[in-house]
Subunit: 134 residues, 2 copies
DNA sequence: CTATCTGTTATAGTTCATCTATATCAGATA
DNA sequence: TATCTGATATAGATGAACTATAACAGATAG
């Protein structure tokens, strides 16, 4: 199975699918041109309705992460910076980062330790197959 | 006004309140012993129902961030590590960090630039009034 | 051509989270 | 006593999330 989903979790299923795909791309498990499973296929694998998968794919398409043809299905794009929802992404992302880091700080995680974990996660990206370092 | 809330946003109001309080603590705008507005007062200021504020405060209490007495109202605690929802916090937080950083990576933000922004946010914390450096 | 896969779209229903609206009770306080 | 507070219960409206069918069109393998 490509994706690990928690059907009983608090996070909506379609958002979990989106998150897993984005992480897989960051990890390098999915590269430019990689094909995602068909909506009905993935829905069958996850034992959910295909509309839920459809919604997740549609989200990824809006964000410019994938490209969807009737021919080739859902395919990972190269330049997510061209999605229609890309304007103001940086600001919205920074706001979320701020909230997340504030949470760590309040829970007693020191600045250096927090920063170390950030670096650790970032280092775990790109240490796989493709991912040309430019 | 203490908190800035977007009533028409996608994020639930009670969660926005929670986020703003957590950020205010990280910023040092709220320190150990600081009193939060009463639920009805804050609800009136934000023009929302006091039950929504109540839910936000209850969330903060569950997470050990504040302490609520009938006497002194909602007061910022010192040790959020003693909340009942503290077990497994680190793991859950890292999962969210991973998702957030993957998003930045996929959107073309480089590792160094991402890490720089993390440091920038963290540096903005603790550079205010109270916050005894121990 | 037929069968089957795919994406796309539409409609409808259930369940649940969110928010609001009232109301009541009890402790604290002026 | 009057008023503020937190705590709690109930109820309703709205919308998000998910499911269930159904139908259509393009692509593809037999």
């Amino acid at each position: 199975m490509l994706l690990t989903i928690d059907l009983d979790g608090e996070v909506p299923i379609y958002q979990q699918i989106r998150d897993r795909v984005v992480e897989a791309i960051a990890d390098g498990d999915l590269v430019e041109g990689s094909a995602l499973p068909s909506t009905r296929q993935l829905a069958a694998d996850l034992a959910i309705n295909f509309h839920t998968v459809n919604k997740a794919y549609d989200l990824l398409r809006q964000q410019g992460v994938i490209r969807i043809n009737r021919k080739s299905g859902a395919v990972v794009r190269r330049d997510p910076a061209s999605g229609p929802a890309e304007a103001g992404f940086a600001e919205e992302w920074q706001a979320r980062l701020r909230t997340l880091l504030a949470e760590a700080t309040v829970h007693g995680l020191g600045e250096q330790e927090t920063l170390r974990q950030c670096g650790e996660v970032l280092d775990s990206f790109g240490t796989r197959k493709g991912r040309t370092p430019t």
